[in-house]
């Protein structure tokens, strides 16, 4: 197999742009998901009537449908009822719709993992509900949730590989486009795989390091 190195060098900037786009989409998607997740998990924890029910329904809907179909619906379906969004907006809304439920679950299991006896000993020194959340529950829930939050972030980053389906020039789409125009299949696919490794491998290593730290060291140093 002869590699066309010249082709690789020529198209490298395209992959650079695509990687940047991938990172941007994943960043905003993750950020909004985190905000949703934090908000929703607190609402669920305090069992706010009605809203909790809506959130539970949302979580189920989001977790049990594929992102591709979600995106197609947002991009092609919604304009038919008068809702127009740009490609990037659709992608971020889609990622947030998907990621929000995953983050909600991550935060919620973090909160639930804080033991009842921790809550009680907080109460028994006279802490108020707000103080209890601020000083006892959230710091612990947050630490417990970190590994799954990180895993979700990587999950969302990987899911961005689908946004090419709504014409965004992400890594996947660039590779596909180059194959379509120049028929350099091997070169394009290799660059594609390498790009994802470059993007996700460091993240995944950092994550497993954090996970180990949290698991074995619990708290403090």
């Amino acid at each position: 197999m002869n590699f066309d190195w010249e082709f690789i060098v020529e198209t490298l900037p395209l992959y650079g742009d695509a990687m940047w786009l991938t990172v941007k989409l994943a960043f905003w998607g993750t950020l909004f998901s985190l905000v949703l997740g934090l908000l929703f998990s607190v609402v669920l924890h305090y069992k706010v009537p009605v809203i909790s029910g809506v959130i539970v329904a949302y979580v189920e809907l989001s977790r049990n449908t594929p992102l591709l179909v979600q995106l197609f619906f947002l991009y092609y379906g919604l304009p038919k009822i008068g809702i127009h969004m740009s490609e990037a907006a659709c992608a971020i809304v889609g990622l947030t719709f998907l990621g929000g439920s995953y983050m909600t679950e991550a935060f919620r299991s973090g909160i639930e993992a804080v033991s009842k006896s921790q809550v009680e000993s907080g109460l028994s020194i006279g802490l108020s509900k707000v103080q209890l959340a601020r000083y006892v529950i959230l710091p612990q829930a947050y630490a417990i949730s970190i590994p799954s939050l990180g895993a979700n972030a990587i999950f969302l980053l990987k899911e961005t590989s689908i946004v090419g389906a709504i014409a965004l020039m992400d890594l996947m789409n660039v590779a596909k486009d180059l194959i379509g125009m120049h028929y350099k299949t091997a070169e394009s696919l290799t660059l594609l795989v390498v790009s994802y490794l470059v993007l996700i491998l460091p993240l995944s290593i950092v994550l497993s390091w954090i996970e180990r730290k949290v698991r074995y060291a619990e708290f403090g140093d």
Binding site: S121, L123, I125, G126, F219
Partner: protein, 251 residues
């Protein structure tokens, strides 16, 4: 019971159920300042539930808990305020794992009681010194042994300057040496006149620390007697039966 000392807590006909199940069926108890009351009884008889009611961790279905002229069994009690006066230490050394020892101790005094930091710190260090753990003040709970954690938990409760402290089987998950180091701390508190209600399964300790023994069975108090009398000549048959469990010589 000695009438000379000030009455701190008076419980009358306390009723508690979980759903249909009655767990406490009319508890009556008076606690005077400086008294050490030890509650004994078989597992599931309602000892923990009783202490939790006194600390507002469980709601109550009937009866009175008179404390400083207020009835804590009523609805509108500000438990946050009460809990500053009635401290509690649990079985599972529930220190907050993400805070150092000193932060654990100061959380209540600073955030709840809004006390001056220097003054609170001084008291905390003094108490830590008393339980022999001043040098561990910047450690995290996971760096401590079970016995050390439990002593810190006691300091944490003490540092709120409570009128009464409730102890619920604080040594149940400890090794014998650690049991001893924790019980020694409680014994010292008793000697200094702290008012305490203690649930324990250590008979030797109960005998040595308690002014009065309250023997409970099936949600009721069967017997209240001076500690020395209880262990030599319990009044009820049930109490005698309970004590026999700890007598291996009779095998």
């Amino acid at each position: 019971m000695g009438d000379s000392r000030e009455l701190l807590l008076e419980i009358k006909n306390l009723q508690k159920s979980y759903g249909d199940r009655k767990v406490l069926e009319g508890i009556d108890l008076r606690v005077r300042k400086g008294e050490v009351i030890v509650i004994l009884g078989p597992s599931g008889c309602g000892k923990s539930t009783f202490l939790r009611c006194l600390n507002g961790l469980e709601s109550v279905q009937g009866g009175e808990i008179q404390y400083l002229g207020r009835n804590l069994a009523e609805d509108q009690v500000d438990w946050r305020e009460i809990r500053q006066h009635i401290g509690m230490v649990f079985q599972n050394y529930d220190l907050f794992p993400h805070m150092t020892v000193i932060d654990n101790i100061l959380l209540g005094p600073l955030k709840v009681q809004k006390r001056d930091k220097t003054e609170a710190l001084q008291q905390a260090e003094q108490l830590l010194d008393r339980v022999g753990l001043l040098d561990r003040k910047d450690a995290y709970p996971r760096q401590l042994s079970g016995g050390q954690k439990q002593r810190i938990a006691i300091v944490r409760a003490l540092c709120m300057n409570p009128d009464i402290i409730l102890f619920d089987e604080v040594t149940a998950s400890l090794d014998p040496e650690m049991v001893r180091e924790v019980l020694d701390v409680i014994q010292e508190l008793a000697n200094q006149g702290m008012t305490m209600i203690i649930v324990t399964h250590e008979m030797g300790f109960a005998k040595s620390v308690g002014d009065f023994i309250v023997f409970m069975d099936q949600g009721k108090i069967c017997e209240i007697r001076a500690a020395t009398q209880f262990f030599t000549r319990p009044e009820t048959e049930r109490a005698q039966h309970f004590l026999d469990i700890f007598q291996y010589e009779k095998l």
